[in-house]
Point group: C2
Chain length 416, copies 2
């Protein structure tokens, strides 16, 4: 199956919008074991037709996004109809859906908007519960008169409309076109605390020997997703090997981020977490509170950027800061233990470091950071880490390491 993707939209070429649809569709197709052989972006308007015509001659499945709106620039349905030599017909059921959509919002369906109910003759209408423009599936047979043999999907551009349509209509249709796609499985094994090259060294040689397994790596923010896809039993065998080789560096097998895993585990244990941040400046609390329902495990967070704040709110001894420096094992320990005591939580994480670009010394260069973990009835642990480089990466890697320390403690794993 030779798939091409055409994204229409001048805003993509101007760089005003980053083409995340292309990456997302690529991931979905890869998960099905399908490759996209080419992806093209063309501006709205007349250029759409030429791009469609070229792609439909090369591919046997063509996915087109955008250009289904009501304005004059939205020409995808016209271009497809012209390419196939088929008329556009007003679809009464789409008109009805549009009328209901507008009525619900207290607006009247205009003639301009009615354009969105025009459907290529022979196409299957794909419902769009999240917007006005329906999608279309045009079977390959519709192009026979023009010597084409290419199934065409017309999809809306906005991601919140596009994604459910791909999952609900495009993927099931591709499975109908190529039944051996059924029974395929995709598994994402999320790994943290181990670099990509280490992961590759441990698993790649043996996994490459497995027949019909598709193996991929997605670098996330502080983690790596090992993507295994193929037939169900193949993926299971591969996952078993990955579990054996990567062990407790595996965070999740269902794409849950580490903050979600930690919050879920705290919930299961009915425990509370507090945070005391210096260099990460709120990013650690931000990640935790990005998880819906975090309020049942997280009550108190401190951002003690100033030394006086560390002393006033966490009880860190100013003389100790003077002696060892704010960026030190002693201060990280005192911050974590202070946050635990003040908040009454079961666990407290602390970070103190030098995000840069200034503030480094020979002994403690920019990128140096201490991460502390204090827990009720367990000994406090402090790790010294080093993340030189850009400020956002420093913050991200530091918070990832802090969450990983807590995850390991919650699961009873050793913390190096």
């Amino acid at each position: 199956m030779n798939i091409e993707l055409v994204n229409t939209g001048t805003e993509l070429l101007l760089g005003d919008v980053i083409n995340t649809n292309a990456a997302w569709i690529g991931q979905r197709m890869a998960a099905l074991g399908l490759d996209i052989s080419r992806q093209t972006v063309v501006p709205d308007g007349a250029a759409v037709k030429a791009a469609l015509s070229e792609a439909a001659r090369r591919a046997n499945v063509l996915i087109i996004t955008g250009g289904l709106g009501p304005t004059n620039d939205d020409m995808t349905r016209e271009a497809a109809a012209e390419l196939l030599g088929l008329p556009l017909e007003l679809d009464a059921s789409v008109v009805e859906t549009l009328e209901a959509f507008f009525q619900k919002r207290g607006r009247v369906l205009t003639e301009t908007n009615k354009k969105q109910a025009m459907v290529v003759s022979g196409a299957v209408v794909l419902d769009n519960p999240f917007g006005t423009a329906p999608g279309m599936y045009i079977p390959a047979s519709c192009g026979a008169a023009k010597g084409l043999n290419c199934a065409i999907f017309l999809l809306p551009g906005p991601p919140r409309e596009l994604k459910p349509m791909v999952e609900g209509h495009v993927e099931p249709q591709l499975v109908r076109l190529k039944p051996d796609l059924a029974g395929r499985k995709v598994l994402y094994v999320k790994v943290t605390g181990m670099g990509e090259s280490d992961i590759v060294d441990r698993i790649e040689k043996d996994l490459e020997a497995m027949p019909a397994l598709e193996l991929g790596y997605c670098l996330g923010r502080g983690d790596v997703d090992v993507r295994l896809s193929g037939r169900g039993e193949t993926v299971e065998a591969a996952a078993a090997l990955v579990r054996e080789r990567i062990g407790d560096f595996i965070v999740s097998e269902d794409r849950r981020l580490i903050e979600q895993v930690v919050v879920d585990q705290l919930k299961a244990r009915s425990q509370w977490l507090a945070t005391a941040e210096s260099c990460t400046g709120g990013d650690l609390a931000s990640r935790i509170t990005n998880v819906s329902g975090a309020s049942s495990v997280f009550g108190h967070g401190f951002i003690t950027y100033a030394n006086e704040a560390k002393a006033q709110h966490l009880g860190v001894d100013l003389a100790m800061i003077e002696q060892h420096g704010a960026v030190s094992e002693e201060v990280a320990r005192a911050m974590a233990e202070g946050a635990l005591r003040v908040s009454g939580a079961d666990h407290a994480l602390s970070c103190t470091g030098i995000a840069g670009p200034t503030g480094g010394s020979e002994e403690k260069p920019v990128g140096t950071v201490y991460v502390g973990l204090a827990s009720k009835n367990e000994s406090t642990i402090v790790r010294k880490l080093f993340f030189p480089g850009a400020r956002d990466r420093f913050k991200m890697m530091t918070t990832q390491s802090a969450l990983e320390m807590l995850r390991r403690r919650l699961y009873g794993l050793s913390i190096s």
Copy 2:
């Protein structure tokens, strides 16, 4: 000038990497007043040549990214040479640069890596101080024997290598090819607190009447950049009109984000800021501490997710929380005033709201949020806002509104 962009890389089609290069190059070209007429992504390997051949027949400038590495899959230079019917030649000065690069890292230049010193005959080598693969500029005249008339740029894929090369080599070369691009100027007017359609209504009609002005809008996270490009005097005239119509909703004219503007202004006034966050869970402090040097204006931040934390650290009366609810004007006011008092700062911002998806009521639906601003010797202000929708957008819009309240106070502007 008809420009096409070809990005090579299987990782782009698999969706493992989002194609931010395409958007960035699009923005740079738009700023020069140039449009990209088509952008294509092809996998590494043999597909590169077909894509190059098609694009070089349509365009008169072709920008190609990726495929300049040392592996067998990196075929861009071979594809370009074959397309133009020109040999690849080992460039002695590139070999020297590569040898120095490897020596500095204690490694030896291998034969495989030497491949990166092969240059299309007649091409100009573009230095790559951030990586090993140099870029190339192949003048249009090089394709004459094959009936082509297209200037070709070969650029490395990694953004940190690509961006300086575009700015330092591609853009100056385009100006040499099309001298009327010189003297062009681009200005980004960043606006917050006003929706895109409001901005359009106030400026678009008059700006569209200006000859040779390119007007664009980039939606940011909580703000809109109005992009004005054209000849210097045209852009200045347009900027004057935008300033008149948009007034004090303009945050910056140099792409500085609102958090940077606020930190800069606090520094200039030698003032301190504190934060007291409930629903935003550290995101407000995170944005402030993303600004390098924030430690000279920000010392204390509180994340009081639990009611007890609001009482314990900020002195909010628990009976008041009981009476009005944690999400209320009274509590937002008490949080801001408490943070001001406890920290000794000059200004304190507070947020309390319902991020959802649960916790809403008929009176206070999900998305309701109160933002407070307390300042020394000024009256405390609380605004009630409503941002229904996804959790990340809620947090972002809330922190944007808080920063905007402070910006307006720091500049002596009215706060509605």
